[in-house]
């Protein structure tokens, strides 16, 4: 297993290097730069600004010095847009917020998704199946940018239970986590139901029931592990998505997470911040996919590390 993991890590390194290189050069060939503004700046000021950020040197030199700082010092450089902050600092401030939002959302997604999914699988084609399945179908179809404002409209503006937006008190976590988690819960519910249905129809479940095992035991002990397989393979990209793809949620709820920077930095041509977030998310996706593969082997005895 150790060999497998080290092997995967060694595979990831060239992937990351290629990604950084491609992103670095692609950014520079996009029209407009960090200093392009509606009120044009004079050529003299532009030259001085470029000198300040080391952009007066040939592109290849800039690339080498960026890579040097990154690899040897872990330094992502200064942000172009937020001139008194470094990219490291921005990530250090915003990543924990994204992780926290992600954790709450994941908790909501798993709790709601698994409960609904299991419930639906118990008595297929009965009301106990139709209701949770309908809820999850609606959840899948309802985009977060609709669900979010709806929740705000009811819970904050009408009932006054929560702030409409912001990330100040613990209670401010509720609506964003419900919105983001709700969306993934819907998928998880569908996947759980499918997975459970498949396992519940197998011979060993009949054996367990014949043995006299209680229904709770049949479900929790015998079927859940196998029934969750499709959920687990979905979770890898989903977790990366929950953490990085929360742009919409962060905008609707004013959450100071990294998802917004991931998108806005590209619009601002904040070269260093784009690279920083790209590298971070790429690493996250690689790590989560690896974790998922490990968990899958653990859950499914038919698989082995190779």
């Amino acid at each position: 297993m150790i060999r497998y993991i080290t092997g995967r890590i060694f595979q990831a390194i060239p992937v990351l290097l290629i990604l950084i290189t491609v992103t670095f050069f692609m950014l520079r060939f996009v029209p407009g730069g960090p200093f392009t503004a509606e009120k044009a700046i004079t050529p003299e000021v532009l030259r001085n600004l470029e000198a300040h950020y080391g952009m007066d040197k040939p592109l290849l030199n800039q690339y080498l010095s960026y890579m040097g700082n990154l690899l040897f010092h872990g330094d992502f450089g200064p942000s172009f847009k937020y001139s008194n902050r470094t990219v490291n600092e921005i990530i250090a401030q915003k990543l924990p917020v994204s992780l926290e939002l992600g954790a709450w959302s994941l908790a909501v997604a798993l709790f709601l998704g698994l409960s609904l999914g299991i419930l639906a699988s118990l008595k297929p084609n009965s009301w106990l199946d139709y209701i949770p399945s309908t809820i999850s179908m609606v959840g899948i179809c309802l985009p977060t940018f609709v669900l979010g404002p709806l929740l705000v409209l009811f819970c904050s503006i009408k009932m006054g239970w929560f702030n409409a937006s912001g990330w100040f008190d613990p209670i401010d976590r509720v609506l964003p986590a419900l919105t983001l988690g709700g969306y993934y819960a819907a998928y998880i519910a569908r996947l759980t139901r499918g997975g459970m249905r498949e396992v519940l129809s197998q011979d060993f479940i009949r054996t367990a029931r014949a043995k006299g095992a209680s229904e709770t035991r049949v479900i929790l002990k015998h079927s859940l592990k196998g029934g969750l397989l499709p959920v687990v393979s979905f979770l890898g990209p989903a977790v990366a998505g929950i953490i990085s793809g929360s742009f919409v949620i962060e905008t609707i709820f004013q959450v100071p997470g990294l998802g917004r920077e991931f998108v806005n930095s590209a619009f601002n041509r904040d070269y260093t911040l784009v690279l920083g977030t790209v590298i971070l998310y790429a690493t996250l996706i690689i790590v989560f996919n690896l974790l998922v593969d490990i968990v899958q082997v653990w859950l499914n005895p038919k698989l082995k590390f190779e």
């Binding site: 730069g33 937020y82 915003k94 937006s165 609707i252 709820f253």
Partner: protein, 541 residues
Amino acid sequence: MRFLYSLSIILFFSVFITGCKNRTTNVEAGIRDQILHLGNGTEPQDLDPHTVTGVPEHHILMALFEGLVTPDPVDLHPVPGVAKNWDISEDGLLYTFHLNKNAKWSNGDPVTAEDFRLSYKRMLTPSLASEYAYMLHYVVGAKEYNLGELTDFNQVGFRAIDPHTFQVTLKQPTPFFLNLLVHPSWWPVHIPTVEKFGGLERKGTQWTRPENLVGNGPFTLKEWKFSQKIIVEKSPTYWDRDQVKLHQIHFYPIESQETEERMFRSGQLHKTNEIPLSKIDVYRRDHPELLHIDPYLGIYFYRINTTIPPLDKPKVRRALALAIDRDSLVTNVLKGGQQSALSFTPPNTAGYIPKAQLKGGSDEARKLLAEAGYPNGEGFPTVELLYNTSESHKIIAEVIQEMWSTNLNIQAELVNQEWKVYLDSQDTLSFQICRAGWIADYVDPHVFLEIFVTDGGNNDTGWSNQEYDSLLEEALAQSDQAKRYEVYQRMEKILMDELPIIPIYVYTRPYLLHPSVKGHYPTKLDNHPYKYIYLEADSSE
């Protein structure tokens, strides 16, 4: 299983019960404690008055710093700031400012003439690369020093005569000079603080962090929660502290107008930065007392690339300009109280009312197009109309496309580009017609008319007119207001005859404001000096 469910139900309700605890909203608590909650657009780049360029930054800096003069809350005319009064020489070239001896930095240091001199030196230092340094170029030697042609700052027209007397020598009379001084590029910074954190010539240093920043404005920086909010608190050292009634101001960087509107509705904000277009009608109908539409000194217009046929013909450009029914656009599409623009400088900019106006309707437009060789639009190539990707620009472009098609029988193709790509296209003249906007930094017609000087950085039309260029110089040299405005009238006339641009409408600034906010007046630059603002529960409520 059952245990899990009961647990979840308990959790769910406990969350609701904590939520239900008779919550006081920001707005209510704010009225009680004099804390103003403001929506403020985007997260500021920095809080250094010499290096930032954006409007959200300006809104915060207004609380933290103060220049020689400050804007009046009602009409923004310059009133005493750090300078308690000033003398202007006969020829209008020498300004002597007498500084208020009570003016202090937030650490207790007095604000001196030398602070101003060194601040302006910093502003003009080439390696600081300040984008607004040109605001100081009206001073003798300033431009040369800024471009690195002059290295001795003593030759630049700033003199600290004594700690409380500061002199500025201008190149030309520049009658709007005092109006310039309300712009952040003219505000002082605390030299020892800036020096302590990396020096005067470096941008983006740590001196603007809350624990370090020393300012001289009515408020001090208390907290900066990145991407969440900025809190400023009443300064105990500010010279006019008795006038300041607010205890704190909280600035929220909210990029989404919809989010901001919901925050306002749930009582989190006293004032929004903007309001979604789609909500204007709703508020006008249901809550007219909350909706404010202020005049805003800015113009929405189309730039024409005058270097390519057939747009190089003034008659063609005039036909395009006349074929637009601005009143219909403003009343049926924009609905935000905007004014049709028939000249480039918005009417009544510091008392200047442009006489040269676009006259004539679609009949005149058709006639002109025929005279230019395209009767009934025949043979006229499809023109490309470029705008930056945005729903509102798109709607306007579609309406104008339709008007050109109906009135002139010519076809326009709409092209949209992402913001920076669009700016790049505009800058490199890679367009035929493109949408543009210009917001004034200070109240004077000069702000608008200087744009179209030959090869000006913001000209972006390829248009050039020698008479226009020399008139601009003449205006700067003219110290008599009426005579100067006469020169601007002549420039406006040239601009309206040649039309390298198509004026469309004069901006307004719609936003939502809670009735408890007092001392807040509609001003043309969206500047609302905070020292005059206070909160008072509405008696009618």
